[in-house]
């Protein structure tokens, strides 16, 4: 029974190094390319915030050691300039969201694991898959290049609010790079949806799909339908900056003394509406793949089927649909009409329910299991409470009245970092430890894995928990020098705590990186399915050859058939005939 795919296998798969590793159309190679490139961007984004945190902890003091290395325009004799500070802040946000986590969660894990989990030989459109990576990389490089181009990098926050983003230098290259990155994500999304719908193995009905595949499907639909509005808005802002139009500029602006010669008639709020129309589905794009990864690891680690499979999948689909109706809770205080805020208040509270439902089902899955505290399980178990804190702290921000005080303060930064850093990134790290044997046939060292886990978990909390206290004290976000304002002085020591934790967090990543590099080259080969997992990606060799499965697999049961009564072993893989 040939697996149905209309593209004839690209038989002329090149054998040379270039075809095999650089311009490869094999989803596994592209997955790894995405993995290493997004890790690079995550480190670059992290390095930026470590620079920025020095200025927050010790405002105005020269940077030790590397201070003199920075060029004069950025940090004259080691003291960060405010323009450079804003550039670091804006690019940290952009790089981490658009170049780091989405390519890692969707590009790397999605590209590698999804076709294996549905028993497909490759993606539906291999060349399109390659093209999406080779649009992502130049887009990322262009984003980094913007630091050295005239005008410097973008410096109006990753949200690039008009009119500041049109008046400030540096935004043009950011907009161009964004359009390239968005196109790359769109192509990837088309590929994922067609592959998931059309190229599943025989017997793999929708009800038997692993939760990771469901998460990637919903994410791909969100990417497909939410990204184009930002692309259109970015084109409009590009026209504002280059062609002198005024989509987002009202008439009669006076900037730095002289009035802006602009036709006017535009509206700054229009950009915010279009940006958040994308950005809220985008933040769900950040969290959904991680929920999928955590569900996989917990099912495997507790040797028990996931509790409430249908509830989790239904919640993910509901989150996907609702995420398009909540965008304006970012704009309660932005000058939007207050009556509108009541509407978005209600939709925001509605969307918090499915997230709680997913978390509850994941915690309930531990009941009756036999929990193994392997490294991936440690990360997945830590995901549950920490993502819980992220979700809970969203409550006062989602409520219009308390948002009056907490909007645009460090409370907001604490909230979304608890969701993204101690939620998504911890889950992605767990996923790396879990699927590393599948990618390289070798298992990451468990001892160093645990050190990496405890160090990361503690330092992450050290960075972000003080931000809640600062937020309650009213410290605004994106301040170059918090001590310039009196009401921030009382919580200034907390900045030092956060900064030191951030630098320590970087130190704890070194064992992780060394562990990866060492294991790839010197690690000893481990067995094909070290975790004894039942999902389909473990049905082929690790790392799988081109074309993945010798014989197209057939699926006989659900994805998490662990400890089924009367079974010889405590796991029965999907592809084994009963």
């Amino acid at each position: 029974m040939a697996v149905p795919h209309s593209e004839p296998r690209s038989s002329e798969h090149g054998s040379g190094f270039i075809d095999k590793y650089v311009f490869s159309v094999d989803h596994k190679v592209i997955g790894l390319q995405y993995f290493f490139t997004s890790c690079f961007f995550l480190i670059v984004g992290f390095a930026m915030i470590m620079l920025l945190r020095w200025q927050l902890a010790f405002p105005g003091q020269p940077l030790p050691l590397i201070g003199r290395l920075l060029p004069m325009t950025w940090a004259p004799d080691g003291i960060l300039m405010p323009e450079f500070y804003n550039q670091l802040g804006a690019m940290h946000g952009t790089i981490m969201v658009f170049l780091g986590i989405v390519p890692l969660g969707v590009g790397a894990f999605g590209n590698y694991i999804l076709p294996l989990q549905i028993g497909a030989p490759d993606m539906a459109f291999p060349r399109l898959n390659m093209m999406s990576y080779w649009l992502y990389l130049p887009g990322g490089m262009l984003m980094l290049l913007s630091f050295v181009l005239p005008g410097g990098a973008a410096q109006s926050g990753w949200t690039s609010y008009a009119p500041l983003a049109i008046v400030n230098p540096g935004q043009t290259v950011w907009l161009l790079a964004m359009v390239v990155i968005i196109t790359s994500s769109l192509l990837g999304a088309v590929n994922f949806i067609v592959t998931t719908l059309n190229m599943r193995a025989a017997g793999l009905t929708l009800g038997r799909l692993p939760i990771f595949v469901w998460a990637q499907l919903v994410t791909a639909i969100l990417l497909l339908l939410a990204f184009p509005p930002l692309e259109a808005a970015a084109v409009l802002q590009l026209m504002d900056r280059i062609a002198g139009t005024s989509f987002y500029l009202p008439a009669g602006l006076v900037v730095a003394g002289e009035s802006l010669k602009v036709a006017g008639g535009g509206q700054p709020l229009l950009w915010q509406h279009l940006f958040w129309f994308l950005a809220h589905p985008e933040v769900y794009v950040l969290i959904l793949p991680s929920m999928g990864i955590v569900a996989e690891i917990i099912a495997n680690g507790t040797r028990k089927p996931i509790f409430g499979y249908t509830e989790i999948v239904a919640s993910m689909i509901f989150i996907g649909a609702m995420s398009f109706i909540v965008w304006a809770h970012h704009m309660f205080l932005s000058g939007m009409s207050p009556r509108l805020s009541n509407f978005f208040l209600v939709t925001t509270m509605i969307i918090s329910v499915p997230s709680v439902a997913v978390l509850t089902c994941l915690v309930w899955s531990l009941k009756g299991g036999s929990i193994r505290f392997t490294t991936p399980m440690l990360f997945s178990l830590a995901f549950l409470p920490l993502f819980g804190i992220g979700g809970l702290t969203g409550l006062p921000l989602g409520l219009t009245v308390t948002d009056i005080y907490l909007h645009d303060t460090y409370y907001v930064i604490g909230h979304f970092h608890y969701v993204v850093v101690t939620g998504t990134i911890i889950a992605l790290m767990g996923g790396t430890y879990y699927w590393f044997p599948k990618w390289f046939g070798k298992q990451l060292n468990d001892f160093w894995g645990k050190i990496h886990f405890w160090g990361t978990a503690i330092c992450m909390n050290g960075i972000f928990f003080p931000m809640f206290i600062q937020g309650l004290a009213g410290v605004q976000r994106r301040l170059y020098d918090p001590t310039a304002q009196l009401h921030n002085l009382s919580t200034q020591p907390l900045n030092v705590v956060s900064s030191v934790s951030a630098w320590l967090l970087f130190l704890f990543q070194i064992p992780f990186l060394v562990n990866i590099v060492y294991t790839i080259f010197k690690g000893k080969r481990c067995e094909e399915n070290p975790w004894r997992a039942t999902t389909l990606e473990w049905a082929c060799a690790s790392p799988p050859p081109h074309g993945n499965f010798e014989r197209p697999p057939r699926v006989y049961r659900g994805p998490y058939e662990y400890s089924t009564p009367r079974a010889r072993e405590d796991w029965t893989p999907q592809h084994v005939p009963s």
């Binding site: 639909i221 339908l225 009202p250 398009f324 000058g335 009556r339 509108l340």
Partner: protein, 119 residues
């Protein structure tokens, strides 16, 4: 797959396409003629957009073979238009507030709700 798809493909029907071509041309002429009457804003919008929607449905149904297409494509288009409706929600949600608060620098109300010179 390709052999199975041959039979399932939509059989072309050239006379039908030419008929649709004629209908589209007629509708284009109609929509331009209607505009010469300079109707007031609301009816002009309703008539203009309904003609355009009808033309679009002709192109979609026959040229893009949506007629007789699988249900999944309609599900996809339905989801897309649901989100387009949300996007179109934007101007109506905020329009009164925007125009009401629109001011010139010196504070006079800049926005008059209607058009300055609707014929």
């Amino acid at each position: 797959m390709s052999s199975a798809a041959d039979t399932a493909r939509h059989q072309p029907n050239i006379p039908l396409y030419l008929g649709i071509f004629g209908a589209l041309l007629v509708l284009t002429v109609v929509t331009v003629l209607v505009s010469y009457f300079h109707l007031p804003r609301l009816p002009a919008i309703l008539i203009g957009l309904s003609i355009a929607a009808f033309k679009a449905s002709l192109v979609g149904a026959f040229f893009m073979h949506l007629k007789g297409e699988k249900a999944l494509i309609f599900a996809l288009l339905g989801a897309t238009f649901f989100f387009v409706a949300l996007l179109f929600l934007l101007p109506f949600l905020d329009s009164r507030a925007i125009s009401e608060q629109q001011v010139t620098y010196s504070g006079e109300k800049a926005a008059s709700t209607g058009h300055a010179h609707v014929p």
